[in-house]
Symmetry: C2
Subunit: 214 residues, 2 copies
């Protein structure tokens, strides 16, 4: 083996690309450990940069803001929860149960990481920058909204959809409600123990309404 041959095998992507992937990895791990250990507001970007052993200038070429840094970390968790929920929803026996199965895996996050989850939700809803990690988060939400559409259409044989109802819009309403209920738990205005029950009754209202003509 000549000195130029041995590296070439691994070097098909070049040293630069490898350095980049390596830094990306270090930054992800540093951010993940610090955010989960201390919570968003107690972490400074300087701390992340130091732990990842890069300069702050470098840090901000890998994530365009501190919030993007958090989203990078949270998206991983969200990815798992979403996959789990979509799998579980396919076996729900009623519309309510199917939707609850879809949403159930999302519930643990605000309990485990209240502050980080609140910031995550805040940035999803109110973020203006079009960073890559926010884009990914939005894609994940869309995935769930689509899943609700799929669930509802799965039940159109046994249930009829009221005239004029837009299923996509109903998916949005479901998420609006999920967001708010998760926030209520985060800010301690709702008992986590009753969250599932509360959410189920919201889903029921959404599906079957509040009123019926007397």
């Amino acid at each position: 083996m000549t000195p130029t041959q041995a590296p070439r095998v691994l070097a098909t992507v070049g040293r630069r690309a490898r350095n980049k992937a390596d830094k990306q990895q270090r930054i992800f791990e540093a951010a993940s450990e610090l955010f989960t250990g201390l919570g968003y507001s107690a972490v400074t970007t300087q701390m992340v940069a130091d732990r990842a052993d890069v300069g702050t200038g470098t840090l901000f070429r890998y994530a365009s803001s501190k919030a993007e840094l958090l989203m990078m970390v949270m998206n991983e968790q969200m990815r798992l929860d979403t996959r789990e929920g979509i799998a579980a929803a396919s076996s729900g026996a009623s519309p309510t149960e199917a939707i609850m199965a879809l949403l159930a895996p999302q519930i643990h996050l605000p309990l485990e990481f209240p502050e980080n989850t609140a910031v995550y939700q805040r940035e999803i809803l109110f973020g203006t920058e079009q960073g890559q990690y926010r884009t990914e988060a939005l894609a994940r939400i869309s995935e769930l909204e689509d899943a609700i559409g799929d669930i509802l259409s799965r039940f159109t044989r046994t249930h009829r959809v009221r005239a004029g109802v837009d299923l996509r819009g109903a998916g949005r309403t479901t998420f609006a409600t999920l967001h708010m209920e998760l926030l209520r738990v985060t800010f301690g205005r709702e008992d986590p123990a009753t969250l599932t029950a509360t959410l189920r009754s919201h889903v029921d209202v959404l599906l079957y309404g509040v009123l019926a003509p007397a």
Copy 2:
């Protein structure tokens, strides 16, 4: 009139209290003009302080944060819209129409001041500090949620409430949806012209549900 008598008439509250009210007034006007003229992010607290002719230290004893400063201004508008909505709602002929009448005055804000309204909503939902102006904003929201409860109970003679439905929770769902739809307009994901129609269909879904057993 002795020099001590003339001032006494106006001075029942004391010079200190008058100075305070005066500064409060100047700060309100400065904040109002700057925020509405330039938008939240383009305004610095220094600019508000300068225009109100106070130091920054002083500014922050009249509003505990920049966001509180905005809420101080927005609350005034919200107060008018809420009063108008509650008055209009009492004459709605159907539950849907009554709720729409209640919400209608709220929808002009994001059209006129998209950025400020978004920040206002963000702080209402995610703010952690317990400043006086946020407290006031939350009270205004509660007022509207209560109004929805009143509307629904007004129709219990002609409509029956589905078993197990919590009207207060339904009010929260309505607001969750309103928040989200206003945000969609703010961020340009929804045509303002169709907002009323979209909102009405959301309210309909909420009242009468998506599904009915076939």
